[in-house]
Amino acid sequence: MNPTDYAILSKRQLSENVFMMSINAPYIATERKPGQFILLSVDESYGERIPLTIADADPVAGSISIIFQKVGLTTTLLAGLEVGDRLAAVLGHLGQPTHITKVGTVVCVGGGIGVAPMRPIAKGFKDAGNRLICILGARNKDLLILEDEIRAFADEVIICTDDGSAGRKALVTAPLKELCERTPRPDLSVAIGPPVMMKFCAETVRPYGVPLIVSLNTIMVDGTGMCGGCRVTVGGETKFVCVDGPEFDGLKVDFDGMIKRLQAYRSQEQRMAAESGEHQCRMRAQAELLEKKK
């Protein structure tokens, strides 16, 4: 099959606004590693290039899968495509792979759609011989994704929902704190989700000296280190998420600065999404809830 024919091979709806697709991308399928992502675009002339994590890959079939949430224009257009449709561009694999080693006990926290990028990383740590605890957070039961898939390999799974409709009625930081208080403490933690969630995960583990890896979802343009649009401050230094990341030491990331930069185009994006007929902002709602509860 033509390696630049980015056909959609399968599509599945995981929750109201979350979809899983597999795409023909043989170059990427054979070489990608956990933690890496792609940039895709749905229209050759006018499309935006958006970053999405490679959720899984099948090197034999030459396909990769993505799991995405409808939040704005491009993800809405993407969700409207069907099996047999073609994407205009898929660039990958991008970013540094996760540095996976055997450390002992690893806690992986996934919030909302962040569970999707968390899964290959969690699986990687498990496969490397670590004891794996996963905390999955969502606003409610219907928005919870990939629970069965993660239960299939994790040693322990803790579910949290904002409204208590599944698992505990709590934010993900509550069980994370309890785990940090256990002896022995986790040797490593990983958090992927809305920036505010990652920020509070960092505050949660900091006093216990548990290291934290976060995967940052900044706005990107080229994904190759050429534009600097994805930059964040980490430990006082400017880093480009697309080439230096997406994973960083969560205890050093300037989340406040990052959150502000993520909102740079908010009003324009809302206009564009409104014009396209749909607008959802689940990540923000969840983020605001976390801010309030703090």
Partner: protein, 497 residues
């Protein structure tokens, strides 16, 4: 500029041409020097600062012939020595004067693949036109024979005649060559290597081909149709063009040779790493690298509001930091996207500005406000992290530095504040480290540029390089020249194998 319309400029030229033709084109030196330099017709500044169409409209045939008649046909051709690819300038200019445009373009194409581009974007005043005898005699570089405009004229003339003939390709050799990057260096290599019958594949990270000519240099200076026509010619020659392929990630460079069966690789990956100033406030919302700003505008077409999905800042007061072509392009793009005030902040004087003279002049005409001998000290923001202003320092010129230019020195206590909502940093590009990080054995210098000999041979066998990744941020014509030499070396190597 005089503000004369294209029609008026043409009319004047037609009259002068009648005189020249009456003399059978045989003129004395003094007569040639007396012919007025032909002004480039251009869109009116007030109109063009609100559209994205090309600013310079191009000579009429009469203007081109009059301008070409100014050339003194120097025996020693000092102009040729100033051109990085040694175009036969005297001869093609003479062909234009003689009304043989077909001959003129044929002469150019023996040496250059991209005359329509180079005629538009070469820094002629510091290259071919710098040493032109006419400019010297009139003691004004600006009055040299307008070599670039003439080159552009015949290239445009050829395109207007319809599809240029596709260059002949020799029978297949069975050898495979990969070209990394589709900027001017890569495109030239693809053409020259393909002509010898080798199988050529261009691998480009972006979804479109052309490199900086596409994503950096704006439409109003270099229409994208010109670049895509060149790309289509390559396709017609049988060059394979693969987009969305990032060498160093999608595939390691060495794997192209070891696993994918390529017999040679040319790296023309450009200078894609934006420099920032490392000053306070640089990560605020509203601070962009020129690369980001221009890519959003050009490649992602953000200026086509309502159609493009990629947003771009709705800037009202903009500070652009820098004095090169990139800074001019960013400033003029900001105007076209609706900015009310655009300040260009440069720490030296106009004389040291690396931008093409024509672009500086155009920027001024369009209303870009130049703050020379000034530099940014820090960027200020509000609670939402959005830019509110920029604090600058005044500078004065001190002793000449290593580059021979007088070094700018800040004047203590001279801080002043410019209220702006957007800051665009255009202080230059370093080289993208991706290939360096992923290609063991390939040697780079301290600045991150690939080290190679004058034929583009690198420290790795079968790997060649050229363009900005070797030179640092340079020019289209230098990238093209390097591509030419590397392609010859590749062809040479493959013919011996």
């Amino acid at each position: 500029m005089s503000g004369m319309s294209p029609e008026e400029l043409n009319e004047k030229a037609v009259k002068i041409l009648a005189d020249i033709d009456a003399k059978g084109g045989v003129l004395k030196v003094s007569e040639r020097l007396a012919i007025p330099a032909q002004e480039m017709p251009s869109q009116d500044p007030d109109t063009r600062r609100r559209n994205t169409a090309e600013v310079a409209l191009g000579y009429s045939a009469a203007q081109a012939r009059v301008e070409a008649s100014r050339c003194l046909r120097c025996k020693n051709q000092p102009c040729v020595a100033g051109c990085p690819v040694s175009l036969p300038i005297r001869d093609f200019v003479a062909a234009i004067a003689a009304n043989d445009f077909g001959q003129a373009i044929a002469l150019i194409k023996e040496k250059s693949l991209l005359p329509a581009v180079c005629g538009r974007v070469c820094p002629q005043e510091s290259q071919c036109q710098a040493s032109c005898t006419v400019g010297k005699s009139l003691k004004d570089v600006g009055k040299a024979v307008a070599i670039g405009r003439l080159e552009r004229f015949v290239a445009d003339w050829e395109r207007a005649q319809g599809q240029a003939p596709v260059p002949a390709v020799k029978p297949a050799t069975g050898k495979k060559v990969a070209v990394v990057g589709s900027g001017p260096a890569g495109l030239v290599v693809a053409a020259d290597v393909r002509r010898e019958g080798h199988d050529v594949t261009v691998l480009e990270a972006f979804h479109k081909f052309g490199g900086v000519m596409l994503y950096g240099i704006p439409e109003f200076r270099l229409p994208k149709a010109i670049v895509s026509a060149e790309v289509e010619t390559l396709r017609a020659m049988g060059v394979k063009l693969i987009p969305n392929f990032l060498v160093g990630r999608t595939r390691a460079l060495q794997d192209l040779l070891d696993k994918d069966g390529f017999d040679a690789v040319f790296v023309g990956s450009g200078a894609g790493l934006p420099h920032f100033m490392n000053i306070e406030g640089e990560n605020l919302v509203g601070v962009f690298s020129a690369n980001e700003y221009l890519t959003r505008a050009n490649l992602m077409r953000a200026y086509e509001k309502g159609r493009a999905a990629t947003p771009i800042v709705e800037a009202r007061k903009v500070a652009v930091l820098g004095g090169g072509n990139v800074a001019m392009d960013a400033a003029r793009t900001a105007l076209r996207l609706g900015a009310e005030e655009v300040y260009l902040i440069y720490r030296r004087t106009a004389a040291e500005m690396p931008a093409r003279a024509e672009e500086v002049e155009h920027a001024k005409e369009e209303g870009v406000q130049f703050h020379l001998l000034r530099n940014a000290k820090r960027i200020l923001g509000d609670e939402q992290g959005r830019v509110t202003g920029i604090e600058c320092l005044r500078y004065e010129l001190g002793e000449p530095d290593a580059s021979g230019r007088r070094a700018p020195v800040p004047i203590a206590g001279s801080e002043f504040l410019l209220p702006v909502d957007t800051v665009i940093v255009a202080i230059g590009n370093g080289s993208n480290p991706l290939i360096k990080q992923t290609t063991p054995g390939l040697e780079f210098n301290k600045r991150g540029n690939i080290i190679c000999d004058e034929n583009g041979r690198t420290s790795l066998p079968k790997v060649f390089a050229g363009g900005d990744i070797v030179l640092g941020a340079a020019t289209v014509i230098l990238a093209m020249g390097q591509g030419r030499r590397a392609a010859a070396a590749i062809n040479d190597m493959l013919s011996q194998a």
